[in-house]
């Protein structure tokens, strides 16, 4: 499976930084899943949870508060909570 580089960061804390297969995020327009080679997107996030499937098969999940932003481009994704 193709992977992409995912960074999830909070102020003063880096939650996830590495290769991932998929991440599911709560956007303000609905929950969406990002896979490798996703279309370049900037999305505002709302209250909910983010599920990460890392390249090594590990699963993580993080709480998301309203006002987070996800940016996806050139096979890498950055989420700031």
């Amino acid at each position: 499976m193709k992977t992409f580089h995912l960074t999830i960061a909070r102020v003063g804390e880096n939650l996830f930084d590495g290769e991932a297969n998929a991440v599911r995020l709560p956007g303000t327009e609905g929950v969406f899943t990002v896979l490798a080679n996703h279309e370049p997107t900037v999305a505002e996030l709302s209250q909910g949870e983010a599920y990460v499937e890392a390249a090594d098969g590990q699963a993580y999940h993080f709480e998301v508060h309203a006002g987070g932003i996800a940016e996806i481009s050139s096979n890498q994704a950055t989420v700031i909570l």
């Binding site: 960074t7 960061a9 909070r10 102020v11 003063g12 804390e13 880096n14 930084d17 956007g27 303000t28 327009e29 279309e39 370049p40 997107t41 900037v42 999305a43 505002e44 006002g67 932003i69 940016e71 481009s73 050139s74 890498q76 950055t78 989420v79 700031i80």
Partner: protein, 302 residues
Amino acid sequence: MALKDIKNQISAKKRTNKVTRAMEAVSAAKMRKTQGSAIAGRPYARAALSVLARLSGSADLARHPLARERAVKKTALVLITSDKGLAGALNSGVIKEAARFVKGRDVNDVIVYAYGRKGEEYFRRRGYAIPEAFENKRDDVPLSVMQELSRKLSAGFLAGEFDEVVAAYSNFRSTFEQVPTLRKLLPLSLEGISRLVSDITPAKGKWSDDAPVASPASYMVEPSPEEVLAVLVPRLVAVSLYHMLLEAKASEHSARMVAMKSASDKSDEMAELLTRKYNKVRQAAITREVSEIVGGREALAS
């Protein structure tokens, strides 16, 4: 000088030495911790900046209220100093930089937000308005204080209480080099943010060779560029402020460590000089006593 006085002085110097050595060790540990959190905060700042940089092409950043330039009449000065002294030239450097900045301005045109007591005292004595003063006692940077300060600054800027926000703090270059720095916080500019991020990008190491990622021609923005900017810009203000506070903290600890190190070295040196003096005086006294005894014997024998 009497022997006893010198002995007292020597033990006083040794006591001082113990204290300064301990403070040096404590500051070194705190410095490492603060540097650690400065590094931990870096990905967030970089990520927020890159989102902003990429959006600035598609949406008009300059239209955001927090980024709009206007004629400057009143200025808010955020002064980040330490609460405690014994940190060498750290605070005086920052205060000097801030004083140079306010020199050409009327006292009534400057509002000071003081983070740390040293700077607060200086500007209060000179009659500046200080609507808010924060304590800088803790060894880390509490997020709550940072958020409160950034909220107040943003609100004041939007309400027109002041037309720009400038921060004076000490930028951490290395353990031996802290540079007093003056930086504009509001109105927010892309250039200002990228300067801040380049400051927190180390010259070598993991992040140093990170070239900016080429931005794709078009983005899908949900829900709309305006709404995303409305969320992002206040966050960038907070992040900028947070980084300044972290830099100031790291500078404080390392400046104190260096100051304590030179104090320890100096007291070591003084103790050594005094010991030498002590031995000389003691030897002189012995020689005198011996020659007195010998002289007395000679007198009796003749």
